[in-house]
Amino acid sequence: MWWNARHMEAAASERRVWKVVPGLSKLATYAIVIVALCAAWEGYKWLWETTGWTWPFLVDDTTMPHLWDILKAFGEPVTTGGPALIHPLLDAAWFTAKEAIAGFVLGAVVGFALAVLLVHSRLLERGLLPYIVASQTVPILAIAPMVVIGLGSKGVEGWKAVAVLAAYLTFFPVAINALRGLQSADPRAFELMESYASSRWSILWRLRVPASLPYLFTALKISATASVIGAIIGETPASIQEGLGGAIVNFNQYYSLQPTFLWATNIVCAVLGLVLFGAVALTERLVLRRAPEHYA
């Protein structure tokens, strides 16, 4: 909060107090946003139901179940005498997480390697970059079956093919941002390194890579969530029903019976994305303690 800033400088004792408050206010902001979103959902539902509006779609307990019903679904058994929904969903989330993480790592390595390659060759950058960009304009839904089938015919297991698909979504932001980051160091630093007759290798590791880290982490955060999407989409054509993609297909089929189960699955998908995002953000904090972003 900007108006706190001046007070913070005013007195050292006050500073300690204010240090706690931003943390609290951050938490409060999250809470307010969540409450507002929930209120918007329930408010929309209430308004459309009481007025009987049907545009753009009919609103009732099937199309928009109450939020508390969705949360309650986690504790309901899927089948008589079976475990609560949360258990098979967590199993599915773990399965999908494995595909997503494998894809994320593969995509990050490939993306970073591409960036290193391109930063050292103007010709390659000019030649390859348009195709890298073009690769992302092809819808993932069209590519998914091709990748799965192509790799499947080479004897690659289904989940690995799905990981490749996740990597397809993750390499792009990493490559583009890392390329930018590798070029981002102060030109004077380059001149200094060159005056020491530093090799390309040492310029890369001592100057380019450290300078690229903030860019890289921004890209990795985007990739973390994208890898989950890639994994979920890839599961269907890969004949995998153990993951969240399989759960979505299944609960979609029985939507009119158990609409809350599909919504609960969606929540798990979102949480999985958030967890991966959080893991990258945490790593970023640990690696970039002194990064320019955190000076402020």
């Binding site: 899927v78 089948t79 998914a144 004949s239 297909v249 089929q253 009119s256």
Partner: protein, 393 residues
Amino acid sequence: MTRVQNGNHAADGVARNPEEGELRKQWVMAVAVLAGAAFAAWVAVAAAAPEQKAATKVNLQLKWVTQAQFAGYYAALEKGYYDKEGLDVTIKVGGPSITPETVVAGKRAEFGVDWLPSLLATREKGSNLVSIAQVFARSGMTELTWRDSGIDTIKKMRGKKVGVWCCGNEPELFAALNKNGIDPKNPNDVTIVNQPFDMQLFLKRQVDAAAAMTYNELAQVLETKNPKTGKLYTMKDLNVFMMSDPKVGTGMLEDNLFVRGDWIAEKANQATAVKFLKASFKGWVYCRDHRAECVSFVLKSGSLLGKGHQTWMMNEINALIWPNPKGIGLPPAGAVAQTTKIAKTYGVITKTPKGATNYAYAARAVAQLKKEGVDVLGKKWKKAVVKVTPGGK
């Protein structure tokens, strides 16, 4: 560490200290023993492997995700029937973006399960696929109306909103409408609504009639509470027009097993096919006689499925297979011809297919099972009464 220090260390590292030398010897021994043990284990494993006769690996591509519609194959797997025939079968589940015909034509599975009209259509596009067994002897397709709507004959669907599944699933109903003087292509006769794969439109009464499979969507309606009474809907709330009912008489053949034409042309594969059919049929026979156990096999592979719904499905699937006067896997007389005729009339195919079916291997499998004393006809089988559960749980 500087280079000089490095050099020193390397130079006197070998024999400076006799104790150190002793330690090293022990290490070498330990590694040698471990390596020896690993080698012995490898030899043992390698020697044990050839004793088992290498099983023939085959894949079965299902039409949809795991559900009781495919219980027979899961039973054959669980009960070891495939094993006994020397087959190592992998069941590949289907899904919204999987067409079994494409998978089999692309050599990613040897066997596929799909509806017969779909196979005929794929064949016409140039894929050499052959149906080798007609597992479901009759159609499970129905059209539902609410009893209180008064639409108690197909004739009365004139001028109504009639829901149909798209993309090759329309012909049975279209043929039924046509038989009753309603032209499905003429909007003045009837409004055809493209129905999604759930029963929402029907439950919300946004259509007057809706397509439903006996084993799935019909149950979904019955598993839903009537908001007016707070109780589950019952059959008394519905009119069910079954396409296989002689009064409607426009049923088409559904789940069949098919293979590639060039694959089955090879002698060795013909033997494999007979073995596969024999074990699969045995699985279906098992599910006829052990309904509850087969449901548990299905639930084991599909952890998100509801037991109530699958129990209903198992019973209704059995009703599509049993009884079969010719033996499981063999279509009733005239059924293939009727399927072909309706498919041709409604543009699923343009010409009468030749060589699309070959039931010789199924007949051989049935004959072998008969010899073993297995009841392949199911004459005495009676449909059970399954109580629906709220939400299909």
